[in-house]
């Protein structure tokens, strides 16, 4: 794996105090960028040769503030180096600049992020749902959307009853207590 320290240094010099470089984990570099600077940093990275946007994911940290994370996985084809750039977005102001003008593949990734997490992208040419159908009222991947689905009042739009999970998935949860780690039904009492 080539070294990204030169890149890290040049970018922290260009964007002082806006990029926070996380320590290496499993050989991967992660940058945390403030939302306002995100488009500039990504444009600068594209100019540096990171011309493959591998993935654009979103993470929902329900209960934390800021709530959403948007994660860009980039690759520099000349050196085969991966870089992860992420930004935290709060729930009240959940819109980010679209990077469709930088990488064309972001078009569909951002549509999926909007569809699943409800994050809006400014400047996106065609922001509509991609996996769910138009008119579906919810954003399914948010943590407050239960696994069995929510009932809707509109029988033509979506199911009127949630899926019959018969008590919910019996799943473990991360914790230090052994009791918490036991698999049990964890209904989303978050709504």
């Amino acid at each position: 794996m080539a070294d990204l320290t030169a890149l890290n240094e040049s970018f922290t010099a260009r964007f002082p105090s806006k990029i926070q470089i996380r320590p290496l984990f499993r050989g991967e570099t992660t940058w945390v960028v403030e939302r306002a600077e995100l488009l500039q940093v990504l444009t600068a990275l594209k100019e540096q040769g990171f011309d493959l946007l591998i993935d654009l994911s979103t993470v929902d940290n329900f209960g934390d503030e800021p709530r959403f994370e948007i994660v860009y996985e980039l690759c520099q084809l000349s050196s085969n180096q991966n870089l992860r750039v992420k930004s935290f977005i709060s729930e009240d102001d959940n819109s980010v600049s679209s990077v469709t003008s930088i990488w064309a593949t972001a078009n569909w990734h951002e549509r999926e992020a909007y569809d699943m997490m409800g994050i809006l992208f400014e400047g996106h040419p065609d922001l509509r749902r991609i996996l769910m159908w138009e008119g579906y009222p919810f954003h399914p991947l948010k943590k407050d959307f239960p696994l069995e689905g929510k009932a809707t009042e509109m029988p033509d739009i979506a199911f009127s009853r949630p899926a019959p999970l018969e008590g919910g998935p019996f799943v473990t949860a991360p914790s230090d207590h052994v009791i918490e780690r036991e698999p049990r039904a964890r209904p989303t009492e978050l709504i």
């Binding site: 499993r26 591998i54 996985e73 569909w108 769910m132």
Partner: protein, 410 residues
């Protein structure tokens, strides 16, 4: 009892037809989800000017099963069967990609035997998927016999996979830190016999298609993707290599010991459908090379990583000793103890780069598992690529992109 209620929900097609003037210059054609040539449930709304496409809008989600949401409620090992159903034409490759991603998070280094067996699984899946890709592509272009030839070979692969994993299709063969079970005795012999006769079959398919004027006429100079457009649209796998960009994850970021195998990466020149077909045919031959080397190389030894806290003990221990019983119980109910952190791991799947972005908060379940599906990204080029081609070229282009909706919609 629910009464019938009329709701006017406008989808793309009907909204587009509202805009069309009464003279009717453009026709909106729905290449519906149930179509023999769309390789699964893909719906494309085409706007046609005569026979030429002016706009294409794919409509996905007919096979969306919510895998990413399910992953947040499953332990790491419980999610492995769901990965079978992503790219259902090469389930072993998906299993390997997912478990490699989780092992990267855990920081495991696999045993040499497990690595070689996983490479064999990946390459067998690649042969199976490319045979199907080429066979169905030929069938879509009219050459029905080729489909039967390639599927005969796939049946032999299914027999091999069945003796290895117990199922032809939904394999779930890998586990975090190793494999479900070791190779059955004599399996490498059967694999060698299969590999000995495979090159002649590929040559037969080659002789039927590569110089056939009908096939070449249907695929040459159709659906040309220049390399910079391919990179910008995030294409990976044979689609990207058909456009001339030599980016293969097995060479660029080697995993599972791929750097020790001697193979070449075929790269196309023009980026048309014919090039992508040729890349897949050549990848078949290179996979045979890798498999032969792997069979020679297969070392003896354990298949599981040495981590008693997270690896299931042997069944004899579980049934006779207390520690084995407790360990089995804790691992199965609480899941594997993953560290906090995030990783991304991309594997060279037959369709492209299958990537898993895992965000873990410790414990036995992922906090967020994002599946970077190659077919989803490969399909995104359709609105850019299809306009200008005729409707019959659509079939050729879809077949050459070789996507699978299970992966695209997850």
């Amino acid at each position: 009892m629910s009464t019938v209620q009329e709701l006017g929900i406008k989808d793309n097609a009907s909204r587009a037809s509202d805009v069309i003037d009464m003279v009717g210059e453009k026709l909106v054609l729905n290449m519906g989800p149930s179509h023999p040539s769309t390789h699964g449930v893909l719906r494309i709304v085409l706007e046609l000017d005569g026979e030429i496409i002016t706009k294409a809008d794919p409509d996905l989600g007919y096979l969306h099963r919510g895998d990413e949401k399910i992953a947040e409620n499953m332990t790491w090992t419980q999610f492995i069967p769901y990965t079978d159903r992503l790219d259902y034409l090469a389930p072993l490759a998906n299993n390997v990609a997912y478990t490699c991603a989780v092992e990267k998070l855990m920081g495991y280094e696999l045993t040499p035997r497990a690595k070689v067996i996983r490479v064999m699984c990946c390459e067998l899946a690649r042969i199976s998927a490319h045979l199907l890709g080429v066979g169905c592509y030929a069938m879509d272009c009219g050459a029905m016999t080729v489909f039967l030839y390639t599927f005969t070979e796939r049946e032999k692969i299914y027999n091999l996979i069945e003796s290895l994993t117990g199922a032809r299709f939904t394999t779930s063969y890998t586990r975090i830190g190793g494999l479900a079970r070791d190779l059955p005795p004599g399996w490498t012999g059967e694999l060698s016999n299969f590999l000995k006769q495979l090159p002649e079959r590929i040559n037969e398919v080659d002789s039927l298609l590569t110089r056939s004027p009908i096939f070449v006429g249907r695929t040459r100079d159709i659906g040309i993707i220049p390399p910079d457009v391919a990179i910008s649209y995030g294409l990976t796998g044979p689609n990207l290599r058909g456009s001339g960009v030599s980016y293969d994850l097995r060479k660029a970021k080697p995993y599972l010991g791929y750097e020790e195998y001697d193979f070449e990466v075929p790269v196309g020149s023009t980026g048309d459908c014919y090039d992508r077909y040729l890349v897949r045919m050549e990848e078949l031959r290179q996979s045979i090379r890798i498999l032969e080397q792997a069979i020679k190389k297969l070392p003896e030894g354990p298949i599981f990583v040495d981590d008693p806290k997270n690896i299931l003990p042997p069944k004899s221990d579980v049934l006779t000793s207390m520690e084995g019983l407790i360990q089995q119980f804790m691992i199965v109910t609480q899941g594997i103890e993953a560290p906090k952190g995030e990783v991304y791991f991309g594997a060279e799947n037959p369709k492209g780069e299958l990537g898993f972005y895992i965000n873990s908060r410790g414990g036995g379940v992922p906090h967020r598992l994002k599946i970077r599906a190659p077919s989803f990204v490969n399909l995104s080029i359709l609105p850019h690529l299809l306009p200008g081609h005729s409707v019959s070229d659509t079939v050729a282009i879809l077949g050459s992109l070789d996507f699978v909706m299970g992966e695209c919609d997850r």
